[in-house]
């Protein structure tokens, strides 16, 4: 018997039956608190997103916290250098679970125009687990908002992301098989 069935008929219209888990996910997905950590150019676009025109507050994500203990999203906005890496990892470790990471901008994702520099980290995924990548140099505030909505989707429906990942993996495997077959035929 489902729990829904034991709700008296007169209360059916006023009572929502759900699990604590999905209630938590719903609340969490709609009020992500980002850490106000800007590294370079992308930080200015992050500030623009919090400004009047783009108004990230419409989605509930405007609570930029200066303290990592209160934040649950790390937006790595800007070029990450090797010198900045230990403080950034420390910030990430100080954040309470559940926590997420957005890699904003080409520099963070893969080094961007500084990929061949001696001091720039060529891709943040060598250091931190990344949930959403937002390409652009710098990405527009709309792109940041879209990225945060993607993150919301991931928080509220992790199974969708799992499914998408499974599909991608299957496609990749199929492609590898095809390449193998073609290689065999060539010989």
């Amino acid at each position: 018997m489902e729990i829904v069935d034991i709700v008296p008929p007169m209360l059916k219209n006023n009572v929502i039956v759900t699990t604590v888990d999905s209630l938590f996910k719903w609340a969490h997905g709609n009020s992500i608190w980002p850490l106000s950590s800007g590294l370079a150019c992308c930080a200015i676009e992050m500030m623009s997103a919090a400004g009047g025109r783009f108004d990230i507050a419409r989605f509930g994500y405007e609570v930029f916290r200066p303290c990592p203990r209160q934040a649950d999203l790390l937006i790595v906005a800007g070029t990450l250098t090797w010198k900045m890496t230990p403080p950034l990892i420390r910030l990430y470790e100080e954040m309470a679970e559940p926590k997420y990471v957005i890699a904003m901008g080409n520099c963070t994702i893969a080094g961007g125009p500084f990929a061949d520099s001696y001091s720039v980290v060529p891709g943040i995924d060598e250091i931190l687990p990344v949930d959403v990548y937002i390409p652009g140099c710098p990405p527009r505030p709309e792109a940041l908002i879209n990225g945060m909505l993607k993150l919301k989707e991931k928080i509220m429906h992790p199974e969708h992301v799992e499914k998408a990942r499974e599909v991608l993996l299957q496609q990749k495997l199929a492609k590898m098989d095809r390449i193998k077959e073609m290689g065999g035929a060539g010989k």
Partner: protein, 365 residues
């Protein structure tokens, strides 16, 4: 037996009021500051080294990322240096467009200064107003080059596109609206007693102090020295334009705020003159397919938003520069931080960082 000693407090590199990844070691005696030591390098990307392996044309986008709030001024500075080195004659229309863009960018950059200053002093509403007006400037840039930041619009020899249809009208509308908007800031910030008390008489820099630290830009003008490279060197079309070099008197935080405030209005005047006098003609000088400046070296300076922006370029006759050194104004201005903070309370240090207006992309390069 009682004894007192100083203690050290660390601020940053991740701190909301240090304008990026600056780390500051404060030596404190109770609540007053004894010594301030800025520790930089958290955003060092090795741009000067990277430029040695790029052609001159490819170098220009890297200058966008130096002082990312005023990219047009950096593009202008670098292209100006290369043009002096190779002795390229830039068409007059291009010069007008360049100056117009540089001054619009100065407005945008000073608006960011006002926004961040008000956040640092605890008035986060000011940020919303400043960024609202900055969006109007960014809309104009979006029209001419399709980007909101990192424009790469000013190229060696001119500008890449001519002004699109409707740009002049929009720019005029913005310039007309600006004095009204600035009056609004005057009511919101300038007349605010808390704001005034946090800034007046704090972090005083005398003429001798700013000169000994070789500070430039609004920081030196606030102390009463009318040093503006637009006026002193008179590069590009600046000698033909009328504008006032705004100076302060005391050299305190308040003067640094007022100088930037007035400069916004002066820049608006320059933009208006550029629109009125805009000549017809080509926008790009003829460059060879493989651009190779002659052997030699040059130091060329322009007035960036934060001070004297100089490029020292050594050419060995190949398409790539042999060495590029960039004199970044924020980096040099940062030397004054200790004198600005020593002797004042710890709360004032935040206002001092903010009124130097450093950008870490430029400090660390």
């Amino acid at each position: 037996m009682l004894k007192t000693e100083t203690y050290t407090l660390n601020m940053g590199p991740q701190h909301p009021s240090t304008h990026g990844v600056l780390r500051v070691e404060l030596e404190l005696d109770g609540e007053s500051i004894v010594k301030v030591k800025p520790i930089i390098g958290y955003l060092h990307r090795g741009i000067e080294k990277l430029l040695e392996s790029r052609t001159y044309i490819q170098c220009v986008p890297y200058t966008d990322r130096l002082d990312y709030v005023s990219s047009m001024n950096n593009n202008f500075g670098f292209c100006h240096a290369v043009e002096e080195l190779a002795q390229i004659e830039v068409p007059r229309r291009a010069e007008y467009i360049r100056v117009m863009m540089a001054e619009l960018n100065r407005i945008a950059s000073h608006l960011v200064f006002m926004g961040t200053l008000s956040i640092d002093l605890g008035a986060s509403t000011g940020h919303l107003y400043a960024f609202r007006d900055r969006e109007d400037v960014l809309d104009l840039f979006d029209l001419v080059c399709g980007a909101r930041m990192t424009f790469h619009y000013i190229r060696i020899g001119g500008v890449i596109h001519d002004l699109p249809a409707g740009f002049i009208e929009k720019a005029k509308a913005f310039i007309d609206k600006l004095p009204e908007r600035m009056a609004e800031y005057d009511e919101l910030l300038t007349g605010n007693e808390i704001f005034v008390r946090r800034l007046k008489g704090r972090s005083v820099m005398t003429k001798e102090m700013v000169l000994s630290h070789n500070m430039t830009g609004p920081n030196v003008r606030a102390s009463g020295i009318p040093f503006d490279i637009r006026r002193v060197d008179g590069y590009s079309i600046y000698p033909e334009l009328e504008f006032k070099v705004v100076t302060g008197r005391e050299g305190d935080n308040w003067d640094r705020y007022r100088v930037r405030f007035e400069e916004i209005l002066e820049s608006a005047k320059i933009v208006r003159q550029c629109i009125e006098g805009l000549p017809e003609g080509p926008i790009m000088a003829k460059l060879p397919a493989v651009f190779k400046p002659p052997k030699g070296e040059i130091y060329s300076r322009t007035e960036g938003t934060r001070g004297e922006l100089g490029f020292y370029i050594v050419s060995d006759g190949t398409p790539k520069p042999y060495r590029v050194h960039i004199r970044r104004p924020s980096f040099v201005n940062m030397q004054g931080l200790n004198d600005m903070c020593a002797g004042y309370y710890i709360g004032d240090s935040v206002a001092a960082f903010s009124t130097i207006d450093p950008l870490m992309g430029e400090v660390d390069c």
